[in-house]
């Protein structure tokens, strides 16, 4: 068997999906700098794609599209960049839309939404515009929920529990994942007994990366994940920009 055959089989198994997490991650990195491997992968994708034909389609929950649109709104708003008034208003509008959805999605989510409203209202009018972002971690009513706020100017973060409660013998651990960080999440630290995390945990991350990143909180054995990767169930959130000015009383 030649090296080229080996490489072709690596590509084939990558496409088939039988490699373990570490092998998959290694191939994903290698293909960026190895055109041969990349081409072999594409060829296998083409060869096997007809297998996907036998999958039964499943219509998604209509809510899913709204969530995707809101995520894209957030990405595009950020790209638009300009700190104009109309931009601020559109943020408020999209946040309100999100709040409405949260309010009827689950009881827990509406609790999270109320906290978010409170934050919007009580945020003092800023002297200098902070780049404030929030992420809400929500799931069904059995699950804990947190809220994360980040000021991108100084990369300070604050995590607040909304309905999350301490669990005997378990710790909550916070993670960040972004395309540019590779396929695996990176730990931002383990939450202490007061649900606090070091405020400067984000200092090594570029603000642009933070805006696109997925944040996760997982349940781990006490003291944090023994493997360096999330081992327990996890909930996820994305950062959304918060309008600089509090919504008025008309809200």
């Amino acid at each position: 068997m030649t090296d080229r055959d080996d490489l072709d089989m690596l590509a084939a198994e990558f496409v088939l999906g039988t490699l373990d997490a570490r092998e998959r991650a290694a191939v994903a990195v290698r293909r960026q700098s190895e055109p041969d491997l990349d081409e072999m992968i594409t060829a296998w994708e083409r060869r096997l794609s007809a297998l996907a034909d036998e999958v039964t389609p499943v219509t998604p929950d209509p809510e899913l599209y709204q969530q995707i649109e809101q995520h894209i709104d957030a990405l595009e708003t950020r790209l638009a960049g300009a700190d104009t008034d109309s931009h601020d208003k559109s943020n408020v509008v999209s946040l309100h839309k999100r709040l409405r959805r949260w309010q009827w999605s689950t009881a827990l989510a509406s609790a999270a939404a109320m906290v978010l409203v409170a934050v919007l209202i009580f945020q003092p009018a800023p002297e200098q515009r902070p780049q404030s972002f929030v992420a809400v971690f929500q799931q069904n009513d059995q699950q804990p929920a947190f809220m994360l706020s980040v000021d991108l100017n100084n990369r300070q973060m604050q995590i607040r529990p909304v309905t999350a409660e301490p669990m005997q013998g378990k710790s909550y651990q916070m993670w960040i994942k972004a395309d540019s960080l590779g396929p695996n999440p990176r730990s931002l630290g383990v939450l202490n007994d007061n649900f606090e995390l070091e405020r400067a945990a984000l200092r090594d991350y570029d603000p642009e990366l933070l805006k696109e990143a997925t944040f996760g909180i997982s349940v781990e054995p006490e003291g944090g994940s023994p493997t360096g990767q999330p081992t327990g169930p996890a909930i996820h959130g994305y950062l959304y920009p918060v309008a600089d000015e509090a919504p008025g009383p008309s809200h």
């Binding site: 999906g17 036998e54 998604p60």
Partner: protein, 203 residues
């Protein structure tokens, strides 16, 4: 806590009917993807409507959990929105490109969870009960028939392995457990099966 923060999967019937509203041709999907590359939101909405059931079906079969699968669908469409301009029609069809992003996302997620498969028997039954789709959704019928013919030439165990891996996301270790073989044997079998398939598919 057996399921990783899954949303409730019961009592949330999809609003639409199970049948796709409008069959969309591969060329149309390719055009829509071009629109998405130009950040056309209405093209994105149409593309989503035409393809999301296919991607969700693909991901659910791998993850076996609807809430989790919808999260991966979410990530998949964000990637599609951001990377549509990287789609190269000379290398793959648009839907293959999208299914690839979806499968990669689902398998990456699955490999991070050490949980073992709960009901392999269900998945095997699902495999056995496959019925050819009346209308091919991913590839043209000729391509599908050709691959099926080549799969038929494989020994049954090896054919099942390829399909369980591709469709259900089974790892080498999952296959080794089920087929009661050492992992290295599974790897050898897979490689032989894949080479045989490649030979059969090469004109």
């Amino acid at each position: 806590m057996s399921e990783p923060f899954s949303s409730s999967t019961t009592g949330r019937a999809p609003s639409g009917s199970e049948s796709p509203s409008q069959p969309v041709s591969p060329d149309q999907i390719s055009e829509l993807l071009k629109g998405v590359a130009a950040k056309d939101r209405s093209a994105f909405a149409t593309l989503y409507e035409a393809t999301a059931p296919k991607l969700l079906g693909t991901i659910i079969r791998i993850l076996n959990n609807r809430g989790w699968a919808e999260e991966v669908v979410h990530d998949t469409y964000i990637k599609i929105w951001r990377k549509a301009d990287q789609f190269d029609a000379t290398k793959a069809s648009a839907i293959t490109w999208m299914v690839t992003i979806a499968r990669n996302g689902a398998i990456d997620e699955l490999r991070k969870q050490p949980a073992s498969r709960k009901a392999p028997e269900d998945e095997l039954n699902q495999l056995a009960s496959k019925e050819p789709n009346a209308q091919s959704q991913v590839e043209n019928q000729q391509t599908v028939n050709r691959l099926n013919l080549c799969l038929e030439e494989l020994e049954k165990d090896r054919r099942d392995m390829v399909r369980l891996a591709y469709l259900n996301g089974w790892s080498r270790a999952d296959l080794a457990t089920h087929f009661d073989q050492p992992v290295n044997t599974v790897k050898t079998w897979l490689h032989r099966a894949l080479k045989q398939l490649k030979g059969c598919l090469t004109p």
